[in-house]
């Protein structure tokens, strides 16, 4: 079993420099919130978590991976390098990253307004944010079609376009950044901003140099969640995008087609595994980026 689950970074083991002596290499020193992670649950907790994660996540993933190689590695390669598969994958990743990036900006703005501004109906808006979570995604798709479909009441028809996919993703991933930034913003020490102001910083400078660095981890993890969700999104896209190969077809829909229409579970598994692998890489990339920023800060 992997004990690294409990102490996922060796950094927390580094003792703080002695109070009197000048501090040494700053790259190795634990940052505040890592140190706060002391007090673990011991081997029992680690064991339970490991078994749980294995049952819920790792085993199914292993099963699908094993399945994808049923016809051998050569066949696997052929399946996943098919032009339609590659196109779907690239489109999925690009549109998901775009959705995550837009969310990072707009979600932060929404969180900001919800925390810092006072207006009538604020709690209603606050509750509304979670709606995309509660709605079955297929309903989300239908809603979008009703507004931006063939018979659009506002005269905008985006069906079967890439814009439609992006729109659907924006809809279902809206809550992630908002909900990860909101609590951090609530907790943010307002006096830090006042101190910055009294030291001569303009509101813009205060935001960039004080607020943003403190929100950054929350924004990044919210964006990472949006991305992960977007990569796997199916229900809200399947109707409005028309699933045009080489255009609006995303990997999830492509996999679905392989499984259902072509009755080809091995190919479906193979494409799934690639999708999985690439998403994992992107998520790890975001974490690394987050941590690097953390250390530089």
């Amino acid at each position: 079993m992997s004990p690294s689950l409990a102490t996922d970074n060796g950094l927390s083991e580094v003792p703080p420099a002695s109070p009197a002596g000048p501090p040494g290499c700053s790259r190795l020193r634990a940052r505040p919130h890592r140190r706060a992670r002391a007090g673990g649950t011991g081997p029992l907790g680690t064991g339970v978590v490991t078994i749980w994660l294995s049952l819920i996540v790792l085993l199914p993933l292993a099963a699908v991976t094993a399945k994808s190689f049923d016809d051998g590695a050569g066949r696997f390669w052929d399946v996943v390098t098919q032009r339609q598969a590659v196109n779907a994958l690239i489109f999925t990743l690009v549109v998901s990253l775009l959705a995550a990036a837009i969310n990072a900006v707009m979600g932060t703005l929404v969180a900001w307004v919800l925390v810092r501004d006072d207006f009538r109906g604020k709690s209603a808006v606050n509750a509304l944010i979670d709606l995309p979570f509660a709605l079955p995604t297929i309903v989300a798709g239908l809603t979008l079609i009703a507004l931006y479909g063939k018979n659009s009441p506002v005269g905008i028809d985006v069906t079967y376009t890439r814009t439609a996919v992006l729109l659907a993703l924006m809809f279902v991933t809206l809550p992630f950044v908002v909900r990860s930034v909101q609590p951090v913003l609530l907790e943010l020490d307002r006096e830090m901003e006042e101190a910055s102001t009294s030291l001569g910083a303009s509101p813009g400078q205060t935001f960039r140099r004080i607020v943003l660095p403190n929100l950054r981890p929350a924004i990044l993890s919210g964006a990472a969640l949006s991305f992960a969700r977007a990569v796997g999104e199916f229900g809200s896209i399947v109707l409005i995008s028309g699933n045009v190969p080489f255009k609006t077809e995303v990997s999830a829909v492509y996999i679905f087609k392989l499984q259902e229409s072509s009755d080809n579970p091995i190919s479906a598994s193979a494409v799934s595994v690639v999708l999985l692998g690439v998403s994992l890489l992107v998520l790890i990339g975001i974490r690394v980026f987050e941590r690097r920023g953390d250390q530089r800060a």
Binding site: P22, S26, E191, M192, T197
Partner: protein, 335 residues
Amino acid sequence: MITVENVDKHYGDFHALKGIDLEIASGSLTALLGPSGSGKSTLLRVIAGLEVPTSGRVVLDGRDVTNLAPQQRGIGFVFQHYAAFKHMTVRDNVAFGLKIRKKPKAEIKEKTDELLRVVGLDGYQQRYPSQLSGGQRQRMALARALAIEPAVLLLDEPFGALDAQVRAELRTWLRRLHDEVHVTTVLVTHDQEEALDVADTIAVMDAGEIAQSGKPRDLYDAPSSDFVMSFLGPVSRLGEGLVRPHDLEVLLEARDGAREAQVVRVVHLGFEVRVELLLADGNGTSADGVGASEPVVAQITRAEAAALELSAGDIVWVREQLGTRGADGPKAAAA
């Protein structure tokens, strides 16, 4: 020189500052003293521009700054809870104001290093605020505020979150620092000892108003009201007036103006002795215990105590020592 002219501040229908007039001399260290909720922080924040007064003016060195944004006032502000920039090292914290002012790199480094030496944090440049003690954090915050060479330094209960010993050390240190850099300083505190210890001038606030301001000694010796008197140190009520424990005389026989009392407790505090007395007529209460038969507290020297040979249960006579405050007492001042 800071001039606050007829400043009012309303929060909704709450009147937090009521027509404040205050002059703070250049280079002085003034303490704003008052109970919780009396408006000390509000007044300080109005001076800093962090709060806009409902009416009235704030003038800094002859310049009306009432409508000037805080970042344009050149005022150093130190917060009770440090307001450290958590994501920056100590060095970057202190350098912040200089970086905003786009000073050359070398100058910034030299200046921050010097300031950190002044506040006793040399060698801590690379640390993050969470790796400092409370006292160190507050000294960092002070260095940060001083870095911009402010015309005025405002401190809102800077030592409030620290324990008594560190507090006492830091305020002595602050006084020395002030004597070196001579920046006009306003210190908010609700600790009268702190105010008496470090300030050249004290302004006592009560419910949004300045109750009295002046030199610490004048305030202590000639308080303009019972409120100011009781706020600047312990007092007991003896008949009509308030008296300080060290202004009480304990006698073994009845004399002019003395009241009969029973000794409740004798506490030896080292260099002095505190005697708690219960007046025979039940008239004596400490200023805060309204009506309750709180003991009257007298403070006498060890020699006096030895001569009197007091112990609990003894019957004595107590009166206000003649000539200690003369006609300067609150009764006289109020009349």
